[in-house]
């Protein structure tokens, strides 16, 4: 069952009736600010839903739209226009923040397409990523033991250079696993961009799993860094 959010195609310009070929927030013809919309982030920038993106073009467009929409440009305008400007600029900023980062963009797009992605942020704990990736169970178990031991040592004020170099090596290993995940994600991303609906479904499912794996690995590397930097201090 698809729960993809079909954000309604943004309406025509209220002033001149032109279609929103570029941003949903500004009319491309008459330049009037459009009312605060339910546009999705891609529509904000007038982009197709694609995972590959030209980030410098995105930045240029962000600056261009900021100049036109920002509340500073509406300091002498009516209260209504000021509200639109505020809401639209918030949306523009949120959209830019999400789209310019590869991971956030991927998560956003997948969510838009109806997949359940991302950490629960109700503070209940990071649920999906508590599960170590199946192929790494042993390595992860070993690493966690080493981390515990290191933490104990630090509490006791003891030093164990052998353990430290083991952990450093482990970190390098997991970082390279992370790079592999990123490469995989990029490849799946292209498949999604260029594929038919069936290919897209496969790619999307694969990316969702990759994102979970990535989050788990990222947390692990962070834990190792914490322990190692305490040692270095």
């Amino acid at each position: 069952m698809s729960t993809a959010s079909t954000t309604s195609a943004p309406a025509a310009c209220w002033a001149c009736g032109a279609a929103p070929t570029t941003s949903a927030l500004l009319c491309p013809d008459c330049g009037k600010v459009q009312p605060a919309s339910a546009a999705d982030y891609f529509q904000v920038f007038g982009l197709e839903r694609r995972l590959n993106l030209d980030t410098s073009a995105l930045e240029r467009e962000f600056h261009r739209l900021s100049r036109r929409l920002h509340p500073d440009r509406f300091a002498r305008a009516s209260a209504g226009e000021q509200q639109w400007s505020l809401a639209n600029t918030a949306l523009l900023n949120d959209a830019y923040r999400a789209l310019r980062d590869t991971l956030q963009r991927t998560e956003y797009l997948l969510r838009l397409e109806g997949l359940k992605i991302g950490e629960e942020h109700a503070g209940k704990g990071k649920s999906a990523d508590r599960q170590p990736p199946a192929d790494l169970l042993e390595e992860v178990f070993e690493l966690n033991m080493q981390l515990e031991e290191m933490r104990m040592n630090q509490k006791m004020g003891e030093d164990d250079p052998g353990l430290q170099s083991d952990l450093t090596a482990a970190r390098a290993r997991f970082e390279s696993l992370l790079t592999a995940v990123d490469n995989d994600l990029a490849a799946r991303g292209s498949e999604w961009d260029n594929g038919d609906p069936a290919a897209r479904e496969r790619a999307a499912a694969s990316m969702a799993a990759l994102l979970d794996r990535r989050r788990y690995l990222r947390n692990l590397v962070r834990d190792v860094n914490e322990v190692l930097s305490t040692a270095a201090a």
Partner: protein, 668 residues
């Protein structure tokens, strides 16, 4: 034949830029394509952020019609009547009892006895209490008047700067102060961003300022900010910001003060701590020493103690630097964090701007050089713009952007960020972050809530700012009570809450129950702040006194101007040029002087002004002669000369522009 009245041309009201600083405040505006600071009545660009409660006339029958004085004139009160004066009030804005324990140990703040946790602070001056916003409002009002005097027209709109690291409560307190002072605050601008604006405008004129990564290191009297920006074709985009709102030149002063007090106790057996006036005098001396040490290798303290003894001490720069090192090193952490958040290395910073009086300290420059690897790369920090004024100048540029009044600023745009993550308290006292720190503002987040009990019509949300996991470790921003939810079974209502941080960095919240479509009624209980109703009453209060305040102020200003010219004239006979005058002229001058001296302590403001003008006119010839005699001690005479040129013909006699002696408050 009737003449047609020409239609009134609408006057373009000027928007000013205000730097409301811990130690000094300034007001500036855009003159053509150049931002310019507006001086006060004494000719000084800086208004010390000192407020004192005066009693205008001790002989007055009407009970304590107190007036408030601000700036240099309040400075005297710090030493003579410390319980009626306050400085560095910015340290108290948006804060509560729990936060300021440290400040209370080091600053002579006197608080009301009955302040509850979470309540706004109330400060005692004499027998009255004021919130920090009200005190700041008096400073803002002084700046507003300086601007109005300068333009000869009302000023009601302003841009006010705040430290980038100020949280929501501190920003609200600043905006409240503006409102109380009768100013429509169009925008709060972060201080380092304002400095970058002033600097960027300056550079654009020389053809520079394109596509650069800039860091602004702002160490003022009470706050420290570090901001990293990308300047690109007129867009000033903040990438990351960090800082410490409890760190500045005041901490250096307090350190030196503590050391001096201990030495005095050990060597002279006198504990000055109970003597508020002696402490202020020592503080003043210590500040002078600090300033001296920025350019001299040694400074001297020489104080008379209450028992007649003298405390004398030399402070070599090395000793001073050793002493203050821990204070300066506290700036390193925020710098590193900002770089990390921006995802850049120190050597990727192309330009560094120094802001704030404390950056004049050589040890600060050395530290900055180390952190950002400047001289290694053949770079110098930028100090071309006066570090005391650059923030106000930047605020004026932003005011001009908002007004759309200058072609020089038409294409400029500030994209700033929120310095602290915004979160909601969830079950178990944990914080769920909904907007990350360093998000470009305006920024928003939507969250959904529901009810836990059948028929529940209210939902309470606790919003916080900070980076920690537990609510107890973050700053409480406010509690929002969503009311008017239609009664339904538990878990059924779907309440969508929109959090919006606006361009000022201040939070707005709206809520709607989606099934019924009803807008929820939101009651805001700000932490450490005032409700809108409370702010309203504070404005009205000052309106009630506006009339009497206005007259009292006019009187005080007339007396200041009279004093200025009297002291100049009293010194006149010492000048050789005095001998060049004939007896008639000397007699006229003497008569005018005696008349003004007599009338000055009266209440007739017009008469005082008239007498001041009269004295000024009798001395014009003398002033010219002094110039010709080229006597260096005639500094004041020179300004009288300049003033008399500016005064123009006698028909302008009603308008006094007082002679402008040197800006800095005399410490003699």
């Amino acid at each position: 034949m009737l003449e047609e009245q020409a239609p009134e041309k609408p006057v373009q009201e000027r928007i000013v830029g205000i730097d409301l600083g811990t130690t000094n405040s300034l007001v500036a505006y855009m003159e053509g394509s150049q931002p310019v600071v507006i001086p006060g009545v004494d000719g000084s660009n800086l208004v010390p952020s000192i407020v004192a409660l005066d009693v205008v006339d001790p002989n007055d029958e009407t009970p304590s019609r107190a007036t408030v004085t601000v700036g240099n004139s309040a400075r005297r009160a710090l030493i003579e009547n410390p319980e009626r004066a306050i400085y560095s009030v910015k340290r108290l804005m948006g804060r509560g009892m729990e936060d300021i324990e440290e400040e209370l140990k080091l600053f002579p703040f006197r608080l009301a006895d009955d302040i509850e946790p979470g309540e706004v602070l109330r400060i005692r001056l004499g027998d009255k209490t004021f919130t920090p916003s009200e005190i700041s409002a008096y400073i803002l009002r002084q700046l507003k008047r300086n601007a109005e005097r300068y333009f000869g027209a009302p000023v009601t709109k302003a841009v006010i700067t705040v430290p980038a690291y100020f949280n929501d409560a501190q920003r609200q307190a600043t905006r409240d102060a503006g409102r109380m002072a009768g100013l429509d605050v169009l925008r709060l601008v972060n201080e380092p961003t304002a400095a970058a604006l002033a600097y960027g405008l300056d550079r654009a004129k020389e053809g520079g300022g394109k596509g650069e990564t800039v860091a602004v290191y702002d160490l003022g009297g009470g706050t420290f900010d570090i901001s990293i920006l990308k300047l690109n074709d007129g867009i000033f985009e903040v990438i990351a910001t960090n800082g410490d709102t409890h760190l500045g030149g005041d901490d250096i002063d307090n350190l030196l003060l503590a050391v001096a007090l201990d030495e005095i106790r050990n060597e002279h057996g006198v504990d000055l701590r109970p003597h508020a006036d002696a402490i202020q005098a020592l503080r003043k001396a210590v500040i002078e020493a600090k300033i001296t040490l920025s350019s001299e290798p040694v400074a001297k303290l020489d104080i008379e103690l209450p028992d007649g003894d003298r405390y004398q001490r030399e402070i070599p720069r090395e000793v001073y630097e050793q002493l203050i090192r821990p204070v300066l090193e506290r700036t390193a952490g925020p710098c590193k964090q900002a770089l990390a958040d921006a995802g850049i290395r120190p050597d990727q910073i192309e330009e560094l701007v120094l802001v704030g009086g404390s950056t004049r300290i050589p040890a600060v420059r050395t530290l900055v050089d180390q952190i950002f690897e400047l001289s290694n790369r053949g770079k110098q920090p930028h100090t071309e713009l006066n570090p005391d004024e650059v923030v106000a100048l930047g605020a004026a540029v932003q005011a001009s952007i908002l007004a759309g009044s200058s072609t020089a600023t038409e294409e400029l745009l500030l994209l700033d960020v929120t310095p602290l993550s915004l979160g909601i308290e969830a079950l178990g006292g944990v914080v769920a972050k909904i907007i990350q720190r360093n998000s470009t503002i305006p920024a928003s987040a939507n969250e959904h809530f529901t009810t836990g009990v059948d028929g529940q019509t209210n939902v309470a949300i606790h919003v916080l700012q900070g980076e920690r996991e537990l609510a107890a470790d973050c700053r409480s921003l406010a509690r929002f009570d969503l009311k008017g939810i239609p009664p339904m079974p538990a878990g059924l209502p779907r309440i969508e809450v929109k959090f919006l941080i606006d361009a000022n960095g201040i939070l707005q919240v709206t809520a709607r129950e989606q099934r019924s479509g009803l807008e929820a009624n939101i009651e805001v209980k700000p932490t450490y702040g005032l409700t809108d109703e409370q702010v309203e009453t504070m404005i009205l209060d000052s309106f009630d006194h506006a009339e009497t305040d206005f007259e009292a102020r006019q009187l005080i200003e007339a007396r200041i101007e009279a004093d200025t010219i009297l002291s100049a004239v009293e010194k006149a006979p010492a000048s050789p040029a005095w001998q060049l005058l004939d007896e008639d002229e000397k007699a006229r001058i003497k008569a005018a002087r005696v008349h003004l001296a007599a009338i000055k302590s009266g209440h007739d403001m017009q008469a005082i002004r008239a007498a001041t003008t009269a004295l000024d006119q009798t001395t014009r010839n003398f002033a010219e002669k002094m110039m010709e005699a080229a006597v260096s001690g005639a500094m004041r005479g020179k300004t009288m000369q300049t003033a008399s040129e500016e005064l123009g013909p006698a028909s302008n006699a009603n308008e006094i522009s007082a002679p402008h002696p040197f800006a800095r408050a005399e410490f003699d």
